[in-house]
Assembly symmetry: C2
Homo-oligomer: 441 residues x 2
C-alpha cells in the first residue's frame, strides 16, 4: 500500500493538508441508470480508491443524466474545482449516449473519423468472428482535440483533453473497460505528474465490538492523535473498520507516525483486530492455510453458499479449499454430512449439537484439516419464540478441536447471511490463534 | 410496479416531460469513505430507485466529505435545484460526523436535547442489555427546527426540515437504518404530496445477445417509439437490460403505450427475453419450481458457491432448493457426486462428459427433480492453450433430459463466476421452456 513513497520528500516537514497544495480530482458519472437506482455506482468508488492510492484526493463525485447541456455544465464546474476531471459513461454505441457531443461543445472541437480506432474496433469484432455494424463504426468518430486512449475490451475509446493545465478524461462506463484504461493509461501518467503531496491511509479491521463501544475504548488514543492525522469509523455488517488518514509532504515521517499510532492502538484493542487495509477475513484465512499447508472445507445451511463464495473469491484458493456442502435440506445434512437424524429431531437443525456434527462430518467425509459449519434461521420466516429469525450456530473445527458459538443476528435475511459468513471466518481465525499463540496478530 | 397509478389523472393528456412540471429530488451522500472508495454508494442507488417508483425524478447525486462548510454549501445548492433534498451520512456518534452542525448553520437553529430521542436510544441499548454511553447520549441532541424521524434500528434519528416549500431530510448513513426510515416515514409523506407527474419504467431483460447486435435488431422499433418514451441499454455481465421510460400526466395512457411497445418488441426478440423489471433469473426459476412443486439442487466447481448463494438469496427458497455440492477439489466430484475418476482423467474436469456426470450425480445423490452443474476455469491461473481461462461447461438436467453447453468467458475471475452463474440459471429456464412449450414467455 505504501509503494508510492518518494525518498526525495523525506526532508520536507509534515504539514496539515490544505486544499491548495494537493493534486485533486472530480469524478462525474453519467447515466440515467444511476439516477433511477438500477445500477450501483461501483465505478466511482473504484476510481476513488485508485486515485487515493496515487496520492490524489477526490473532492466530490457527481452523478448526472445523459443530457448534453447537463454534462457540459458539470464538466465546466468540475474543471473549476479540481485539477483532474474523470468522466465515465455515455460513450456507448447507442442513441442515449451524448457525452462526445458535450465534450465537443465545451472544448470547441468536432468529431472526426479516427482510422486507428476503426481498426481497433474491427480487430475487436474480428476476434469474436463478428462483423462490425454501423453503430460500432460510429465509435470511431472522436473529438479532434482529444488524445485517444485504446480500449482493448470494448469499442468506445477513452478521450483525454489537456486544457489550461487541467486534465479532462472521458472513459466508457462499462466497469472492466474503464478499469483497464485507468490502470494502464490514466494512472501511470497522473502518478508521474504528482509530486506535490501525500495522503496515507491505514485501516484497522475489527470484529466483535460495536462502533460506540469501540469509540469509548479508544477515546483517549483518538484525542492524542496529531493534527495531521484523523480517524474515521466505518461500520459494516459485523465489522468495524477504523481508518487512519495522515496528510503531508514527508511521506516517511507520515508513515512512521501512522505505524506508531497503530502500535498504540493494538495495545488497547488487540483482541478485536483481525487485519489491516485491504485484508479480508477470507484472504487472511487463505494465507494461514497456505503457510500451514492445510486444507479447509465447509458445511453451510443458512449462508447457502455465500461462505464458499467468499472463500473461492480468493484467486489460488484451490490450493487449500476442497469444497463445501450446502445442506439446505435436512436430508442433505444427514446423507452428505452424516449428521444423526435423531440429533436434528432432539435439538433442532439450529443447535450446538447439529453444528458440531456438521463440522465433524465435513472433516470426515471431505477429508479436510479444518471445517467451518453454519446453521441458522436467515429469515424472513422459520423463526420461533425460542429461536427467532437470526439465531445462528457456527462452528470452526480442526481435527482435534471445535469452537462453536451461538449468534443472534437481526431479522434481515440478506444481512444475516453476510453476518454469519463474517462470524464464521472470524471464528476460524480464533481457532488458528488458539492453536498457535505465536501467530497472534 | 404500477400500483401508484391514480385514476384521477386518466383524462389528462400525455405530455413530454419538462423539468418544471415534475417533483424532483437531489441526493447528497456524506462520507470520506465514499470519496476514498472504501465504501460503494449503495445508499444513493437504493434511494433513487425508491423515489423513482414514487414518480419523483432524481436530478443529481453528489458525494461530499464530512466537512461542515462543504456540507452546508452542497445543501444550499441542492435546495436551489430540486424540491426535495435527501442527505445521508454524517449523523453517527463519532467525532467525524458534522452534518448536524452544518444543518444548524444553514437553517439558523441550534442543537437541543430531545427527551423522546433519548428514551428511544435507551430502549435501543436496553434491548441488547447494554448501557448507554456518553457518545450515544449526544445522539439525542438535535436541531430545534427539525421534525424528528424515529430510528428503531440505530441511535441517530432522522431530521426533516420544511423550509420555503422545500423539504430537506437528513438520515443516518447505515443502510438498513436509512432504508427503514425512508420506507416508513419519508416515502409515504412524499407520495401523498406528489400528484403532479408520472414516470413509468418497464425493463425488458435479455440474455444471450450483445448490446450492439440487439440494438441493430430493434433499431426500427426503437425509432418508432413516441416522443414521450425513450429507451436505454443497460449491459451487465452476460445480460442486457432494455429500459423503456414514459413520462406524462396520464398514467393509464402511459401504461398502455408501454404495454404496446413491449408487445411489439416481443415479436422481434422473443428468444432472448427471460424476464421483466426486478425479475431475476433465480427468482423466476424459484417461481417455476414452486408452481411445478419440484426441487432443484446444484453441483458447482468454478462458481464456488455463488450459484447456490444466488438461489438461496430468494426468501422461501427452502421449499424447492435442496442444496449444492461445491466440489472444488476433484476428489469431491468423485466422492460426493459419483463422477467416474476415469472420466476426469480422460476428458479433464472441464468437459461435457464431466458436467453431465455432475448433474446426473446430483439428481441421484441429492434426489432433486432438477440439477444445475458448472465446471470451468475461473482464472487467473489453470488455463491451457486448449482450454484457456474462461472455458466453462454448464449443464441443466431434469430426470429425463440434459442440456449441456460450452462457454468461453473472459480472463477475469470475478466476472467469470457471475457470467457462469447467469448462464447456468438461463440454461435452467431453457430446459423449463423445452419441457413445456406452453410456458414460453
Amino acid at each position: 500500500m505504501f509503494e508510492y513513497f518518494c525518498a526525495e520528500h523525506a526532508k520536507i516537514p509534515i504539514i496539515i493538508n490544505s486544499d491548495k497544495k494537493i493534486m485533486d480530482a472530480y469524478i462525474i458519472s453519467i447515466g440515467e441508470e444511476l439516477l433511477i437506482g438500477q445500477t450501483v455506482n461501483t465505478n466511482a468508488s473504484w476510481l476513488a480508491s485508485q486515485l487515493n492510492l496515487a496520492g490524489i484526493a477526490v473532492n466530490e463525485i457527481l452523478v448526472i443524466p445523459d443530457k448534453e447541456e447537463t454534462i457540459a455544465e458539470a464538466i465546466k464546474n468540475a474543471g473549476n474545482k479540481a485539477d483532474i476531471v474523470l468522466i465515465t459513461g455515455g460513450l456507448g454505441p447507442t442513441k442515449d449516449d451524448v457525452t462526445k457531443n458535450a465534450l465537443c461543445a465545451i472544448f470547441e472541437t468536432k468529431l472526426v473519423l479516427n482510422q486507428n480506432v476503426l481498426e481497433d474496433i474491427k480487430t475487436f469484432f474480428g476476434r469474436k468472428n463478428l462483423k462490425i455494424n454501423e453503430l460500432n463504426e460510429q465509435q470511431a468518430m472522436v473529438p479532434e482535440a482529444a488524445e485517444i486512449l485504446p480500449n482493448p475490451f470494448g469499442t468506445a475509446p477513452g478521450l483525454w483533453f489537456n486544457q489550461k493545465e487541467k486534465q479532462y478524461i472521458a472513459m466508457p462506463g462499462v466497469p472492466y473497460e474503464m478499469k483497464e484504461m485507468v490502470l494502464n493509461h490514466v494512472l501511470p501518467r497522473l502518478k508521474d505528474s504528482n509530486t506535490r503531496f501525500h495522503i496515507l491511509h491505514k485501516t484497522i479491521l475489527t470484529h466483535g465490538i460495536g462502533e460506540s463501544f469501540l469509540a469509548q475504548k479508544i477515546t483517549n488514543w483518538e484525542h492524542s492523535l496529531p493534527d495531521f492525522m484523523n480517524l474515521a469509523y466505518l461500520p459494516s455488517t459485523g465489522i468495524v473498520k477504523l481508518r487512519l488518514t495522515a496528510k503531508g509532504y514527508n511521506a516517511e515521517q507520515l508513515q512512521s507516525s501512522i505505524n506508531d499510532a497503530v502500535e498504540e492502538l493494538k495495545q488497547i484493542i488487540q483482541e478485536y483486530i483481525w487485519g489491516y487495509d485491504d485484508d479480508t477475513l477470507e484472504n487472511l484465512a487463505g494465507k494461514q492455510l497456505l503457510e500451514r499447508k492445510q486444507t479447509l472445507a465447509a458445511a453451510e445451511s443458512c449462508t447457502g453458499g455465500y461462505l464458499a463464495h467468499r472463500i473461492t473469491g480468493v484467486p489460488g484458493c484451490s490450493a487449500y479449499f476442497l469444497g463445501s456442502i450446502i445442506a439446505y435440506d435436512n436430508a442433505m445434512k444427514e446423507k452428505q454430512l452424516g449428521v444423526d437424524k435423531q440429533l436434528i429431531e432432539k435439538y433442532g437443525a439450529v443447535s450446538e449439537e447439529v453444528v458440531a456434527a456438521m463440522v465433524r462430518g465435513t472433516i470426515e467425509s471431505i477429508g479436510s484439516d479444518y471445517a467451518l459449519g453454519v446453521t441458522g434461521i436467515a429469515g424472513p420466516s422459520g423463526g420461533t419464540s425460542e429461536k427467532p429469525v437470526g439465531t445462528t450456530w457456527i462452528a470452526a473445527a480442526s481435527r482435534s478441536r471445535i469452537i462453536s458459538r451461538q449468534y443472534s443476528f437481526g431479522d434481515n435475511r440478506e444481512r444475516n447471511i453476510v453476518r454469519a459468513t463474517n462470524a464464521a471466518l472470524a471464528l476460524l481465525h480464533e481457532l488458528f490463534r488458539e492453536e498457535s499463540p505465536k501467530n497472534k496478530v
